[in-house]
Homo-oligomer: 204 residues x 2
DNA sequence: TTGACTTATGACACAGTGTCATCTATAATC
DNA sequence: GATTATAGATGACACTGTGTCATAAGTCAA
């Protein structure tokens, strides 16, 4: 999290900084990004940067979290629209992600995020809110799921299902950038995998 | 790949270098590792390093690939032992991985690999051989799979199944380090997820 | 006006990278 | 055996980037 000083800045200055950061993180992935570029682009001195953030990563994950929050709020609202149908929700979310990632404003940023997706990135994208509210958020979300359509016996298995769906979804988003799939190809692959997951991998 | 000069070195010197690299990559993940430490530990001058490798990453992926090759050869031999049963093979491989990762010789190296697992790491671990032989390798492997037990209709779906199983397996290995699970807990979770995958996530 | 506190600033020390001119060893040719 | 060509070794150096810190500048309450 940014230091308190950052939050004392005017909304204007905050946004200038975030915009500069996004520009740099769209140019190159986190580990290649340079603070020098961000401050030059934001027009602030080096010392100031360290008044606001611990380091590069602090800023990056703050930015990523902001974007993730939007997606997660959307995920929840879709889940409600679809009356708790988890598969429909994941598919609609995947389609929405395809749109977001095609948007020039976000394209390169997400490309750099997904091609360098690691545990910490994924966790940030998957958990929208900071620690205190995390558990509550999780329980609120799973309460919305219609478990009657799922082949599960307990909450543990529901958790497994979410893990699997999340994993497959991220994997497919990564492939989108790696293989440079068209939206149609990407969706076709994703639907194929979701379908396999639904009906089971083993012949009965 | 290392430069030709590296392969002209004596086996002895090659191993010294690899050992030094492994030491450094066990200490910290790739992006925090320093060439300065590796050369100090291997006792070679800085200039020599660049005679042998493009950069840090070149050395890292060469090392990771070496270890991955071992695992993949093992995967294939297990697949044959299990008469092409993909689920049994993945489970046995997962168990073997638990053992490998508990081994002090490898533990910290793999911890750094898995906690910073990204697309490129995963690809290296999943494809044992360098480009020329990759496709052949893949086709040889899938020929060993007993597809009669799988709920699939074509090769495309077989590919999906492999993607899904790989993804879930890596996810669980990452969790092993993130959550610091015991081997028993890790295996229980993995078996739970594989079981769900086999029987399908949707109630029929 | 003063003191206490917060924020701003850029020079600086430090760490690490990749290159290159120069030296050394080894092999090939006459 | 002398000479030339080729490959390899070496470490000083230029460069890029990080995080810190002493100092300056605001801000606000008493």
């Amino acid at each position: 999290m940014p230091k308190p000083t950052y939050f004392h800045l005017s909304k204007d200055k905050q946004e200038t900084l975030i915009a500069a950061a996004k520009r740099e993180f769209s140019r190159v992935p986190l580990h290649e990004a340079s603070i020098a570029n961000i401050i030059k682009s934001a027009g602030i001195p080096r010392g100031s940067f360290y008044q606001y953030f611990e380091d590069k990563e602090d800023l990056f994950y703050y930015l990523l979290n902001q974007l993730a929050e939007k997606s997660n709020r959307r995920f929840i609202s879709v889940l409600m629209d679809k009356n708790g149908d988890l598969f429909e929700t994941f598919i609609a979310t995947f389609q929405f992600m395809l749109e977001v990632h095609r948007n020039p404003e976000h394209k390169n940023f997400f490309k750099n995020v997904y091609l360098n997706m690691n545990y910490k990135h994924e966790k940030t994208l998957a958990n929208n809110v900071y620690e205190e509210t995390q558990k509550t958020q999780y329980f609120n979300t799973i309460k919305l799921i219609d478990t009657s359509k799922l082949n599960i016996h307990d909450e543990q298995e529901l958790h497994h299902v979410l893990k699997i769906l999340m994993g497959v979804t991220f994997q497919n988003l990564i492939q989108l950038f790696v293989k440079e799939y068209s939206d149609e190809e990407a969706l076709e692959n994703y639907l194929g995998q979701i379908d396999l997951l639904k009906r089971g991998l083993q012949k009965n």
